[in-house]
Amino acid sequence: MRARVVAAAGSAFAVALALGACSKNTGTKTDVDTERKTTGVIATDPKDSLGPAPEVPGAAKGGTFTILRETQISHLDPQRVYSFAGLMAAPLYARYLTTWKDDGKGKLTLVGDLAETPGTNVNKDCKVWEFKIKDGLKFEDGRPITSKEIAYGIARSFNPDLTGGPTYIQEWLADSAQYDTVWDFKANKGSLPPGLTTPDDKTLRFEFKTAHCDLPFAASLPATAPLPPDKDTGVNVDNQPFASGPYKITKVAPGVEVVLERNDQWDAKTDPVRHQYPDKFVWSFGTTPDAQANRMIADNGPDQSAVAFNTVPASLISRVLGDATLKSRSLLSPTPSANRLTINTQRVTDLKVRQALNYAIDRDGLIKALGGEAVASPLTTLLPPATLGFEKYDAYPAGPNGNPDKAKELLGGKEVPLVLAVRDDDLNQRLGTQLKNNLEKAGFKITVKTTPADSYLDDVKNKNNAWDIYLDSWAADWPSGAAVLPVLFDGRGIKPAGNSNTSYVNNDAINAEFDRVLAMDPAAQAPEWAKLDKKIMEEVAPAVPLYVDVSFNLHGSKAGGVFIESIFGNVSFVNAFVKQ
């Protein structure tokens, strides 16, 4: 009798699972626009920086727009925002010195946001910059925004308590990586860091000791948002940022939700990019990417005006691609996050071995292991295609599955042992398995060293790390080669720890090239970076370019105006509205 119960339970379970398994899979199609090129200009005409931003077709006012995300946004304080989610949330409540006009298809224009133009290079030597502040700007309480509050915002980013944000401007002003010792914020309240002045309420002036042609770009990060000194509550600004954008934060429940409501002091006429369509934005945290995708597919009730901020998990991609009705509710776009197999050139000193790795790589198999073309798009260059002036090339053409024979030939018949370090999470262990099998076909002997995910980056950034090859990625803060190549491959700044140059390349000829290009006018740099990219790959081969991340997000049927923005490759909300 009891045996019958077993059989019944077992078969019910079997039937339930087998139901879905009866159709034949003949392959799914993905159409990611991998050939897309980014074009960008810095708008010198103040008219480009004027508001209001053009109306979004079909947009309507009203409604609550919900954004689902697995984990909370790490910081809301604009001076500390640096995570992708934070960078996407901040434009709703904060305005910056400069910002990007982005059509979501690769056409970018850097415009003034609080400033009338994206900065004036006063002496044409990139050492003195001036920003004129627009009229009619107001904080959420109606107070006018002047250059003083913007300067205060920059000054408070020197506060050592406020970790997490970008440090470009602080380091440039202090002319030192130890900026918080050069100028002590807490001891100098009421004054401004060296080189930063406000000659009048409408002018903000930067004076650097060395040339920094990238300032207009760096000023597009949320750290240039204004704050009146009396609203500075130190670390607590994270829970109550003071709004200058179209929305103000009315509720912060850490780990649960952030609610933004209209800021009626914001004037559309001053703002070239933002809109104020929904009554409310709600960031809702704690939903897994799986649940997000399932909710978006179900498209029920309030989820209709929601967007899944996390990308569709790899395991659900074929479900989404196979459903034609979901196409109009999905966003699919390559991002500027470039992933590479970094080669530690201190250990792998033989150029031939590094070239052999480049020939051996099976990008097609790797992308399958990641979850397919809707997760990753193959890359053969160091710069991602979203960089201004990008040129596609393949220094080691070996086909989509690699060329193990060519690799073996370069290795001269020897078996080369290498240690590959991967994080101990599920995805990276899978990639470790994939790469080991792939490279061992080409004459390498790979030891996959799994290492705790939390300490992985610190270890890789250690000059004397013990590994030969490791997975690494870089998302630049602005789409210029200057924010990628010198950061990753200039060997003169190699420190004992905390290096971004994880290949530990230090090549005099390449270093000299960096200096030459960096001294050029920002607009003229673009094609030079593309040339330098190819030169580095051919002459040094410090890494194997692997893929760029692809963003694949779903949204509800009433969520309009969302697109994958071009700088950070995440969903942007500046045009978002709820369809009525």
């Binding site: 009891r2 995570s83 050592p160 130190g234 670390v235 994270d238 780990g255 704690g286 029920n300 939390d454």
Partner: protein, 328 residues
């Protein structure tokens, strides 16, 4: 009785102290450096060192431990980077969540309690009910079915059951809302709707032990002399089962229930992950991953506190239910 209670409380304090020391030592064995996690992209070693100093992570370890414990009892000043003065009971300031740990717990504890307490009621009622039914209907189809049901539950994984239930009831049939937490005081209906799947999956998995135990105890009790006597005296069936048999059967179950409840509170991480609800469990896991010492300490201490408390309550209940057991 009073002596017993005092003794139990003293051992409980000793246990909690030992747990706190172990949790503290464990933290320093973690690979994650809480400070580097704070500036992801471009921090340099010297700056990190200053942050570390500021947070007191460079103090001798016994001193750090004593500081933390002092905070719990009398409060302490955490410095401007950590939100300033922190009143007793100060569980510290989480530099990962940018908030006082006590605030985190005020938020996540109701979530976990909302999952565990109703689930425990269901699994107790379900388990004992099924066990009694199958004992009273021994050998019938009903007996086999209830035993089979509870064994099936015991043989499945929570994340499996949870995933299947969500797929069926939430995403396919659209009968239930997406699992999630709403405060019971805000909207009791939404509260129940968002948690009902978690309750039933937990109950399905946990009830097996109770079914098994209550069935066996019931059978044993039914065959005992006093029950037979009561029946012979002409006492009504319901009264006999209710007053005598159930009472005897329930004693050992209280023990397990107490332990289960305590452990469920400390270990809801799988339930919470499966249903995407953020309570004590997920908070603890994230804290370990990110090297968030104050949060680790607090979760370990709070879950240990519940377990120790459950143990004491069980002992007391035991004495209350079964007069044969004397505490001493």
């Amino acid at each position: 009785m009073v002596r017993f209670l005092i003794k139990r409380i003293l051992t409980a304090v000793l246990t909690l102290t030992a747990v706190s020391i172990v949790a503290f030592l464990m933290f320093f064995a973690l690979p994650a450096d809480p400070v580097t996690g704070m500036c992801p992209k471009n921090c340099n070693t010297e700056r990190l060192e200053r942050v570390r100093e500021e947070l007191g992570l460079n103090d001798p370890k016994p001193e750090q431990y004593l500081n933390y414990m002092k905070g719990i009892f009398v409060g302490r000043d955490l410095g401007s980077a950590q939100g300033g003065q922190c009143d007793a009971p100060c569980l510290g300031y989480s530099y990962v969540n940018s908030e006082a740990v006590s605030d985190t717990f005020a938020r996540v504890l109701p979530v976990t309690l909302s999952i565990v307490i109703p689930a425990a009621i269901i699994w107790l009622v379900l388990g004992i009910g099924l066990g009694m039914v199958s004992a009273l209907r021994k050998g019938t189809v009903l007996d086999r079915l209830s035993v089979g049901f509870s064994l099936t539950g015991a043989s499945l994984q929570l994340y499996f059951v949870g995933a299947v239930l969500q797929l069926v009831f939430v995403y396919t049939l659209h009968i239930l809302p997406t699992p999630g937490y709403t405060s019971i005081f805000e909207d009791p209906l939404k509260w129940a709707g968002g948690l009902v799947l978690a309750w039933w999956s937990l109950a399905f998995l946990f009830s097996a032990v109770y079914t098994r135990l209550s069935r066996a105890q019931m059978l044993e009790t039914l065959s005992e002399d006093f029950v037979r006597t009561a029946r012979a005296k002409g006492l009504a069936k319901g009264k006999v089962y209710g007053r005598h048999a159930l009472r005897a059967a329930i004693t050992p179950m209280v023990t397990i229930a107490g332990l289960d409840l305590g452990s469920a509170l400390g270990g809801t991480v799988i339930t919470e992950t499966t249903f995407g609800i953020r309570g004590l469990g997920r908070t603890a896991v994230d804290a370990v991953r990110l090297g968030d010492l104050p949060t680790i300490m607090a979760t370990v201490l709070i879950s240990a506190f519940f377990i120790v408390l459950a143990n004491i309550v069980v002992d007391l209940l035991y004495a209350a239910i079964d007069p044969r057991i004397r505490l001493g």
